[in-house]
Each structure stands twice: as structure tokens, then as C-alpha cells.
Amino acid sequence: MFERLKALSEELAALVQTAGESVVRVSARPHFGASGIVWSADGVIVTADHVIEREDRVEVGLPDGRTVGARVVGRDPSTDTAVVRAEASGLNPARPAKLEDLRVGHIVLAVARPGRELQATLGIVSAVGGPWRTMAGGQLDTYLQTDVAMHPGFSGGALVAADGLVIGLNTSGLARGISVAVPITTLGRVVEALLAHGRVRRAYLGIASQPVRLPDPVRERVGRSMGLVILSVEAGSPADRAGLTVGDVIIAVGDQPVSRPDELLAQLTADRIGRPLPIRVLRGGQPVEIVVTPGERS
């Protein structure tokens, strides 16, 4: 009776146990534990940034039951990702999945270790799409939303596909009320940056801006309805040195049109640091090109 259901249930439970070999507990805040994913056998653990409330006395609970000390290597609040290094070796690194194969409706499991014991919830992929910018200005390579329930301590845990491979890091810190995961591709990039620099490098202009509707004649000429009006320019900043001023309306950065702050942020990647970047603005209704050399955000 119910042979297929039994087989499915057994496979799910086995999947949790296997994936759980690469899921650890990360204790870096009072009261609540959180989870982490083993990135390398020598102790690199990736977790959610928002669960790290204290950087001293970070502890990692391993799948074999041992608790070891750990130190914070680097944090990237923009993608809610952090890397800690546990004083351990011989760990089981998570096996990454290929996201190209992922489709809406696929079964996924959230595997977490809020305390000593492994926990899991089941769901499906609700949405999978192109790049997505987080509220904090971080870039996720793939928008990955699921309906897995996130219980306390599930943040930092693994989002696991039906083949047991890890497709992302679960966190409740990226969106309110829905489960948005940091995709494994983004994790790779962020972890590499955090291990190398302790942070994710970002280019910096030194302005504050907000979207503004362009006047009709200008709209027709540039083929866009919105731009970004500069509200303030930090003294001595790259923008200030290049001559950008309050009231300039940015319509393009490099060859990319921008009309929202997140579109501007998306252009300020690490490779822009120290390299001349043409910025197209409207000044007194006329398009002007100003070359800025972005600095590095500290």
C-alpha cells in the first residue's frame, strides 16, 4: 500500500540526512541559533549575515555533535551573506547544483540545524528568474523564491533540490513574508570576495539621488520618462571631483540607462573602481557627459 508515497517519503528523509552532513549550527546571537552551510572541508562556513549579532564567541555546531569555535571572515549585508571559519577540518562541503535546470514547481527542501538536531521543511520553487537587486543594494544572479516554511534558526541553512544538490542559502532577511534564497552562483562569488577581501568591494560615487520625471521634450529626445536627480554631493568625493552637482539628472551610466537608484547601484560593481566612467546627465535641460572615476566604498 502507498508504495510510491512511502518511497518518496524515504527518499526525502534520506536526502535530508545526506544534505544535513553539510549543514551546521551557527551561534552568533543570543537566544536563537542559526544555520550554516559547509563550504570547504577545512572549516569555511557560509551563513546569513543578519544572524551574526556578535562577532566574538561565534560557535559552530558540527553534524557529528561537536561544537567548535569560529571567527567571522567577512560579511556582505547587501546579499545577507557572511563567511565564518570554524576551527575544524575534514568537514563535508555542500555539493552545488546547476541552477539552469531549476524550474517553477520543482520540489525543494530547506535543511537547517537550529539546535543540535537537523530540521527540514518541504516546498516547491515558486519563482525563478533573472538577476534581482536586494533592498540593501546587493545583486543576486538569479531570483529564487520558494514556499518552504522558515522556522526560527533556518536562516543560513541550505535550500536543497531533489537530487540532493544545494541550490542556495535560505534566509528570512532578504524579503518580508516570502522565502527568497541567495542562489548558489551568488554565494560562490560573494564567498570568494569575502575570503579575499573580507568584504564585497563596491564602487562609489558620493551622491544621493532619487527618481524624477523628465520634462516632455527631453523625454522624447532621450527616449526615457524617468531619470535620477542628484540631491546631494559629498565634498571631495569622486562625483564632486568630476564636477557633478546637485540638480543634475542622471540618465545613463556607461552605456546603461538608469532611472532608479537600484539601477545605478547595479552599475557600481568592483570592476568600476579607479576606472574612468562616463555618466550622462541632463543639466539645464541639455544632455552632458561627465567622466567620473569611482572610488571604493569603505
Binding site: F2, R4, L5, A13, V16, Q17, A120, L122, A149
Partner: protein, 200 residues
């Protein structure tokens, strides 16, 4: 592809049907109760939550509609378990699972949420935990509502892995673990069998 889903649906419906046969409704005599219970022995043993049992004489309604007066055989408020006896035989008892379920296992909860007759909710075992009082819980990701209390949480093989007891959130709940239930049943039955053995 859709074939497998159809087959799983067939299995789910069959699982619900099996579990429903062992599900009873528990209430105080003379009142329509909304508590649930589980037939754990063909000779009339019904397992439920202690908090569902609010009188010494209760009314139990079987899935086939028959109603019986039930006597409280044993009750443990700390464990939140009670076992009732009804005067019936050849009942469709549900089997108790030999061990606690592992995280990720599929489970179905049967009961009478808000009085809705024999409703099923399907989900997954999140984990197991032991609280300060030493009670063992099976944590589940499915919907439990008032009226689910005392009903069976069954695994994919139709075996009881827990007694649905509390909702802990909109989509989460906790069931008294089958291990606690088995220990409780053993204790109660030992008490009742001892005098009989002495008399023989």
C-alpha cells in the same frame, strides 16, 4: 511526469482513507465533541489527548457513524495523553510506528479541525524535540487547528508517528511522539492487567 503525480495522488487518497478508518470523534456524553482520537487496538482502545478528555464518561463516534460510551482507562495530563475503552470489537486499529520519524518524512494529520469531519492535512516532519518536562514531540509543517487534538499523525505507510496536540503557528504544529504514546499505553495497560492476572 504527470503520471507519477497522479499515482502519488492516488496513494495520498488511499492513505487518508486508511487513516480515517482509525480516526474517531471524542466528546463529552450528551454534547457534540470536536476532539479527535485514534483506535489503537481492535478491541476498543482509543488513544487521545488528555486535554480532550473533560469527563469520566465520554462519547466516541467511529468513522462508520456508530457511537459508544467510553470509559477513561488512563490519563496523564503532563504527557497530555489519555486512553479510552469502548465496548466494541473488530475495530480498524492503526498501527503504531516502531520509531520516531526523521526530518523530511511525509506525514498526514487527520482530525476534525473546527468540527470539520475527518479532514486531512499533508506535510513534512520538521524535526523532533524534547521539552523541559521530558516530553518528546514530533514537529510538523502542516495545518493543525482546534479539533485536530488527539488525532493521528501518520507516516507514508499509514502508521501512527504522533498524536496531534498543538498548533505552534499557522502552518506548524507539534504532535506527542509515538515513543511517548507507546510508553504511556504500556504503563496504563500494565496497571489494568495486573489485578486481572492476580485474580486468575
Amino acid at each position: 511526469m504527470a503520471e507519477l503525480l497522479r499515482q502519488l495522488n492516488t496513494d495520498l487518497a488511499a492513505l487518508a482513507e486508511t487513516a480515517r478508518a482509525g480516526l474517531v470523534r471524542v466528546g463529552v456524553w450528551g454534547m457534540l465533541g470536536v476532539g479527535s482520537g485514534i483506535i489503537v487496538h481492535p478491541a476498543g482502545l482509543v488513544l487521545t489527548n488528555a486535554h480532550v478528555v473533560r469527563a469520566e464518561i465520554l462519547r466516541v463516534r467511529l468513522a462508520d457513524g456508530r457511537e459508544f460510551r467510553a470509559r477513561v482507562l488512563g490519563r496523564d495530563s503532563t504527557a497530555d495523553l489519555a486512553v479510552l475503552l469502548i465496548d466494541a470489537t473488530d475495530l480498524p486499529a492503526l498501527e503504531l510506528a516502531p520509531a520516531e520519524p526523521t526530518p523530511g518524512s511525509l506525514v498526514m494529520a487527520l482530525g476534525h479541525p473546527w468540527g470539520v469531519e475527518a479532514a486531512a492535512s499533508f506535510g513534512v516532519v520538521t524535526g523532533t524535540s524534547t521539552d523541559e518536562a521530558g516530553r518528546e514531540w514530533v514537529l510538523v509543517n502542516l495545518r493543525l487547528r482546534p479539533g485536530n487534538s488527539g488525532g493521528p499523525l501518520v507516516d507514508a505507510a499509514g502508521r501512527v508517528v504522533g498524536i496531534n496536540t498543538i498548533m505552534t503557528g499557522p502552518e506548524t504544529g507539534a504532535a506527542v511522539s509515538v515513543r511517548s504514546a507507546r510508553a504511556f499505553l504500556r504503563r496504563v495497560l500494565a496497571e489494568h492487567l495486573r489485578p486481572a492476572a492476580a485474580a486468575s
